[in-house]
Amino acid sequence: MILRVKFNKKNYLKYIGHLDLLRLFQRTFRRAGIPVKYSQGFNPHPKFSIANPLSLGIESEGEYMDIELEDKVDIDDFTQKMNQVLPKDIRILRAIYPKENKSISSELSWALYGVTLEIEEDLSIEDIQERLDNWLARGGIIISRLRKQGKRKVMKEEDIAPLIGGIDVRDKTGSEVTLEVLMRVGEDGNLRPFDFIDALKASDIIKLDKDSVSLIRKALYKEDGDQLYEPI
């Protein structure tokens, strides 16, 4: 019995890493009395997985996990019990029993990030949008990153332009600019937001203060043709 859950992760709790988050949920299940299935063997572990783990330091308005349950639980009951024991900056938002037997990770292919940063030159929203559009249109945004190759990790160059679905400049107050960026996630290509920031900084398209960057994952989507949907 799989329960699919959407939750958020806000404020200071963006500083909890993925493994810490797994531990937190494991304890929360126990405290909330959720009948999670345990693996067999010498070191039994609760069976649940979080799709596309968030990098440390990024907030989120919508994360997803699949939990394997021993018995079906009432969804409202589940949400209420969990939220009672979770820290206030992590909330269970929704939950469903999915009909299909596909894992949540395999369904997701895009993530929408909100990026707030301070720029060091005086530009209008339109100027910034134009520069970013040109940057994307030109293509060939090369980053180097460590890639697994067999047992070793090898530094490889990679073009991330195809992994960027689009950039929208949403807002600007003073020197603070807010962007929305669509980035690929999943097995067919995965762009890490900090790689995007580094590439943007290196491109010199806009001069930005890296220490001022703050990121929030606004949504994760599955793709159907040219349409994007939230999974639950």
Partner: protein, 614 residues
């Protein structure tokens, strides 16, 4: 309150930022404007270490029970965080409200090891609080300290306003209530300090003067005002069942050293190992009842969601109803995948039986502590185990499927000869032989034995408070003697750096003149001295030289029977006479039995064990 935006700039760049954010489950955030006394509790080490300390969870929950008080936590930032905080001008803050430490009424340190003392100065500095007690005004927080190292408070006398001696559950509340009274009346530090002198367990160093003899030893310690008692008695809680015990613990986000429910079974230990300070400080044994423990365990598991209950005490296997407790706990919590674990083991088959029950699963490493390599030396230190115990326990462990054994020893124990030291090698080989003497088909796992030798540090309030520590060269020679004698890949010998143990020994039996050295060392950049990679002996040596203080006087000097020690004004219950008698017996190689069998006359006047256990 520190602004989030400002913190974000640094938190994005440090390792384990969750150390600095608070907000863990069961942390308590109060409205600081509504409480009467704000108490900042500091464990002067990094978060992951400090959060593993049971005392923190006890005091935190105790104090926060009261609406008038708020207790918030402070740890030392790790090196990377400290650097960024200094650069960005962020003062040290508490994790709960992210309020500056200097805005608190009281800053309380727990003193768990001497090598954290430079961190204390760092905490004061990062908070913007003057280091020296005499430089602090009515506007600065009152700085207090307690914990095991407070039993020799003198090396910190210049920095700490008030020391709290003994178990803190009752005395902390008395102190806070007094503070509240004074604050309501109009705060004046001086009159407050005078007013608390009649509370048992309170020591205020500024009300005493120390006179020295020509040879540098102490002639006398004189109270400067009439209210200051000549002898300060430590506090002891008599009945553990009725005493406050936390029913909840903060559950850290990051993994800490002890990430589990900690259940304190009892306090005290009466085995009487002569090197062990805790064994003398916390006498007599006071147990919690199994029913109380079962209740506490239930609450703690419910409130934390932890998957493991650790039974903690000085010598956990001495709990009189351990078997009953363990099986009851297993019965109640086993189904929910909650396990039980023991932090320390004794060398007997009884312990292994219990272990067998609880560790049905992991058969990895097992640790034993014979402490000394030869029987002669084990008698000297009154460690009541012999080779036969070890053989039995180890054979038993191998039979049960364990294959990795760790052995703990000390080097530099009083009267130690090279022959004793080489006993470490002999015991390690013995363990190996036991494993390989079993028929091949019965051997399981990949055998290894790791012996580690720490350098003996003589401590105050032990029978060895009179002895000289080995020199650094001697420690090293002995360590190599063992190391070079081991020629087997399956046996590893590790030893600890003698330099750290030397500085530790200086401070452990130091007087108030050492405050200057500690301050100087900190000014030179010493911090996190308990962390091997950060300890800098060169800087410490310079600090001693510049303050013209000879560390050898404290570490490497054998004392006369009648020498007055810096800590002698403290009454821990056990008498100095008893300690000296134990010292003499040790030199004669005579054992002293566990006083649960019959009182051995340690000097505790109103001992609750007499007539109960014996």
């Amino acid at each position: 309150m520190i602004e989030k935006k400002k913190l974000d700039r640094v938190l994005n760049k440090v390792i384990k930022p969750a150390r600095y954010i608070g907000m863990e489950q069961n942390s308590i955030i109060k409205d600081l404007d509504k409480v009467k006394v704000k108490f900042a509790f500091c464990f002067p080490d990094v978060y992951d270490v400090g959060m593993s300390h049971l005392g923190l969870h006890i005091l935190y929950n105790l104090i926060n029970q009261y609406d008038d008080f708020a207790c918030e936590r402070v740890f030392t930032p790790w090196i990377d965080m400290e650097e960024l905080m200094r650069k960005e001008g962020i003062p040290l803050y508490t994790l709960e409200n992210k309020e500056e430490v200097r805005d608190f009424d009281i800053l309380g340190f727990t003193l768990q090891y001497e090598m954290s003392y430079t961190n204390i100065l760092n905490v004061l500095d990062l908070s913007g609080i003057p280091l020296l007690s005499r430089d602090r005004s009515n506007d600065d927080p009152l700085v207090i300290a307690g914990g095991p190292c407070a039993y020799n408070p003198e090396p910190l006398a210049d920095f700490i306003d008030v020391f709290v001696l003994g178990e803190g559950e009752e005395v902390t509340l008395e102190l806070l209530n007094k503070y509240k009274e004074h604050k309501e009346r109009g705060w004046d530090k001086e009159s407050f300090l005078k007013d608390i002198l009649d509370i048992e367990g309170i020591y205020v160093p500024k009300f005493y003067d120390v006179h020295y003899k020509e040879d540098g030893t102490i002639r006398e310690m004189v109270p400067l005002i009439d209210e200051a008692p000549k002898v300060v008695k430590k506090r002891r809680v008599e009945d553990l069942d009725s005493m406050f015990a936390p029913e909840t613990m903060i559950v850290p986000f990051v993994e800490t050293v002890h990430d589990r429910v900690v259940l304190e079974l009892f306090r005290g230990c009466t085995r009487g190992c002569r090197f062990c300070q805790a064994g003398m400080l916390y006498r007599p044994i006071r147990e919690k009842s199994p029913s109380r423990l079962m209740d506490l365990a239930r609450e703690l598991v419910d409130n934390t969601g932890y998957e493991d209950i650790s039974l903690s005490s000085l010598s956990t296997c001495d709990y009189s109803q351990l078997q009953l407790l363990v099986s009851s706990l297993m019965k109640e919590h086993g189904e929910d995948n909650v396990g039980v674990s023991l932090p320390s083991l004794r060398l007997d088959s009884f312990s292994i039986d219990i272990l067998k029950e609880i560790e049905k699963v992991r058969k990895s490493g097992l640790t034993f502590a014979p402490e000394a390599g030869s029987q002669r030396l084990r008698n000297v230190i009154n460690k009541g185990v012999d080779e036969e115990d070890l053989v039995k326990a180890v054979s038993y462990a191998f039979d049960e499927g364990w294959s990795k054994i760790k052995l703990y020893f000390m080097i530099g124990l009083p009267t130690e000869t090279d022959e004793d030291v080489l006993g470490i090698r002999d015991l390690s080989y013995l363990v190996k032989d036991i494993f390989f003497n079993a028929p091949k088909e019965k051997r399981r796992g990949n055998f290894s034995v790791t012996a580690s030798g720490s350098c003996f540090v003589p401590k105050a309030f032990t029978p060895f408070q009179w002895v000289s520590q080995d020199s650094i060269e001697e420690f090293r020679r002995k360590a190599y003697l063992v190391k070079d004698s081991i020629k087997d890949k399956k046996i590893t010998f590790n030893y600890h750096d003698p330099e750290v143990s030397y500085v530790e020994a200086v401070i452990a039996r130091g007087d108030r003149r050492l405050s200057r050295v500690i301050k100087r060392a900190w000014e030179k950049g010493c911090k996190y001295d308990g962390w091997r990679e950060h300890f800098n002996f060169q800087l410490w040596q310079e600090a001693f030289d510049e303050e013209d203080i000879d560390g050898g006087f404290y570490a490497q000097r054998e004392r006369n029977e009648d020498e007055l020690f810096p800590w002698d004004f403290i009454d821990i219950g056990v008498s100095k006479k008893y300690l000296y008698r134990e010292y003499q017996k040790s030199l004669a190689g005579q054992l002293t039995h566990d006083c649960r069998l019959a009182c051995t006359g340690c000097g505790i006047r109103d001992c609750s064990m007499r007539g109960v256990f014996n």
